[in-house]
Amino acid sequence: MRKLAWLLLIVALLAWPFAVGEFYVNLVSQIFIAAIFAASLNLLVGYAGLPSLGHASFLGMAAYFSALLTLRLGFDHTLAAPLALAGTVVMAALFGLIALRATGLGFLMLTLALSQVLWGTAYRWVALTEGDNGLRGLTRPHFLGINLDDSTAFYFFALLVMAFSLWMIARLVASPFGAALAGTREQARRMSALGHNVWLIRWITFIYAGFWGGVSGLLFVYYHKYIHPASLSLTSSAEAMLSVIAGGSGTLAGPVVGAAIIVLLKNYVSAYVERWNMLLGFVFVAIVVFMPDGLVPGIKRLWARWGQR
């Protein structure tokens, strides 16, 4: 049964670009990108218990790094992409040093402040980032000789990257390190007493989350071929946070579902409903009221209750 469901999902995902028009292919590609981004944030929010409102820094920085390297220095994508990710990781390590001086609300405010610094820099350093005009004229890379400018090719590329990212994140969560991480979330003091270096565990997770945030940033800039400071803004961080909370933090599928909801509301429903922001609000209120721990755990609970009857 479970295997059949997996098979169906894989067939559906593989057949999707051939069954629908370009718009819907691109829509799902965007869901993939948002899903990686939300899943990386979920490592912090759900598994480490560290609510971050600055996760857009990693998406934005990787995107800006890649854009600047290819545009200003003429680097090839095969060189620019690893460099952009390396830059993002270094930045995540630095940000971790600062932000992890606190937990809880303090951590939230520090991450928010750090990301606002980046956002302000991107806005103000016009000579480098072109400020509010954004960087344009970017290209998509060729992957294994395939031109990703084609929407179907990009769809499969994004699908591949997403599958790998989610697998890697799942690996970390399921590993002994993941267990220790859950321990620091539940009982930090006890973990400390048991001899675990709580701070180090959190720092490594922070960097790891930053890395996957950077991966989603690369996909983001490849997809849009344009980058603007808005990608670094609080709104961008908050959208990822909402995805995680709506889908269910601390679950692997939660952020994927949450990201899908946000992208569909923002890019699809908004064409029919003028006040889609309001609808988004209603959806979240409904989720919080009826399934306080998110859609995925909520549906799971409903399923279990029906199953017992």
Partner: protein
């Protein structure tokens, strides 16, 4: 925590299913209607202008029974929220799902730049409202024409007016800290200083600044006037605070094309009286087309049409004219673009044509806020006929300079 695969699949499948339900049935009629996409802003800080854009365009099409050049038209409206990345995905939606033939919009400079390469790639004829200078200057897009104006197109004549008619010598400028504000101030400064004036103070306030107190306290009072390069409702807020600070009567105000738009003028009182602004349009323009449009808009919206309403109304008129020239055959995009660029149209803003870069050449009006029938209006006091984006400069020489910005042209006369 383990990876619960069943939930993962179910959750993802629900999402995929939701997308599939919304798939449109694409039919192939013999004579398909012309599909027009409007890229506007209906949420966020720029929404008031964006809604005016939609209202005026719908009015234009309704007045013609949704027929342009003998063909039925369909309108598709998308809301970018003023966010460039969103504008891009919305443009994709209009092109890939709604299969539009031509796009009107977007509104903001950043949105135009974000969609630039996509417009080229899709070869999508676009009639833009956004003012970003380089879209029709150093890096012109062959599929892009602008029926409104560049940021500085109306600021150049105002500087000329300040020197020649108002005899101003020393001025300050303040604008929103966005490319639109920078470009407008730079254009004003260039003409003003080349004709012997001095810009002694330059200030750029954040677009969403809650309070202009600090900027008003800094403002020099030993000057002849201050130029406002604001967008949206910022001009309104600045002028109101200007009045509260007791500066009214001490320093004169002149404004750029969106500083005291009709859309905000309706909320203003005596503090706005007498202020001189520049724009390519005024609801008070005395031509038969505009008299009809302004009256109809006023009847529907209960306020006068301004920059944004006139923008789409003008674009629609230009579009109709070009469609007539190609006998409604919009599928031959190259021929249509050629007709669009060659078109000469009589519009509510007066007669317009395009330069070889795709930017409009038309009248620019110097206007003064006056009271009429119990409401404030922008009365036209002088007309600069057929102003191009290059003012009186030669295009080649103009384009050799860097694009207008915070730092170019350099301000040499600043006094600290």
């Amino acid at each position: 925590m383990t990876f619960d695969r069943r939930r993962f699949i179910q959750a993802t499948a629900v999402t995929a299913g939701a997308g599939a339900l919304g798939m449109p049935a694409i039919g192939n009629a013999q004579e398909q209607p012309i599909r027009i996409g409007l890229m506007t802003v209906k949420t966020g800080p720029l929404a008031s202008g964006g809604l005016d854009m939609e209202r005026a365009l719908v009015m234009y099409l309704r007045e013609r029974n949704n027929m342009l050049a003998g063909r039925k038209v369909e309108l598709f409206v998308a809301d970018s929220g003023g966010v460039p990345a969103q504008a891009r995905s919305k443009t994709q939606e209009l092109v890939e799902r709604d299969k539009i033939n031509v796009m009107i919009g977007p509104l903001a400079a950043g949105e135009a730049l974000a969609t630039d390469d996509y417009i080229r790639q899709q070869q999508l004829p676009t009639l833009s409202v956004a003012a970003a200078e380089d879209m029709t200057q150093r890096n012109p897009n062959p599929w892009f024409v602008r029926g409104t104006s560049t940021s500085s197109q109306c600021a150049h004549p105002l500087a000329d007016y300040c020197i020649k008619q108002l005899k101003y010598k020393r001025m300050a400028v303040i604008a929103d800290d966005i490319p639109y504000g920078h470009e407008m101030c730079a254009g004003f400064q260039r003409v003003f200083e080349e004709q012997g004036g001095k810009i002694v103070q330059k200030m750029f306030s954040p677009l969403t600044v809650p309070d202009y107190g600090t900027f008003l306290a800094q403002l020099k009072t030993n000057i002849d006037g201050v130029f406002l390069g604001f967008a949206g409702s910022n001009g309104f807020r600045y002028v109101r605070q200007f009045n509260e600070y007791g500066l009214r009567g001490k320093v004169a105000i002149v404004g750029g094309m969106t500083a005291l738009d009709e859309a905000v003028l309706r909320n203003m009182k005596i503090e706005a009286l007498g202020i001189i602004t520049t724009c390519w349009y005024s609801a008070k323009l005395d031509n038969p087309l505009n008299k009809k449009f302004a009256a109809a808009f006023q009847a529907e919206a209960k306020y006068d049409p301004g920059f944004y309403a006139a923008a789409t109304y003008v674009e629609a008129a230009v579009l109709e004219n070009a469609l007539k020239a190609v006998k409604g055959n919009i599928t031959d995009k190259a021929a249509f673009m050629k007709a669009l660029r060659a078109s000469k149209t009589d519009t509510v803003r007066g007669p317009v044509s395009f330069d070889s870069y795709g930017n409009i050449v038309g009248n620019v009006y110097i206007r003064k806020v006056e009271r009429e029938e119990g409401r404030l209006v922008n009365t036209v006091i002088q007309t600069y006929p057929n102003v191009s984006q290059f003012w009186t400069y030669k295009p080649e020489e103009f384009l050799k300079n860097p694009v207008y910005s915070r730092d170019w042209p350099p301000a040499k006369n600043l006094e600290s």
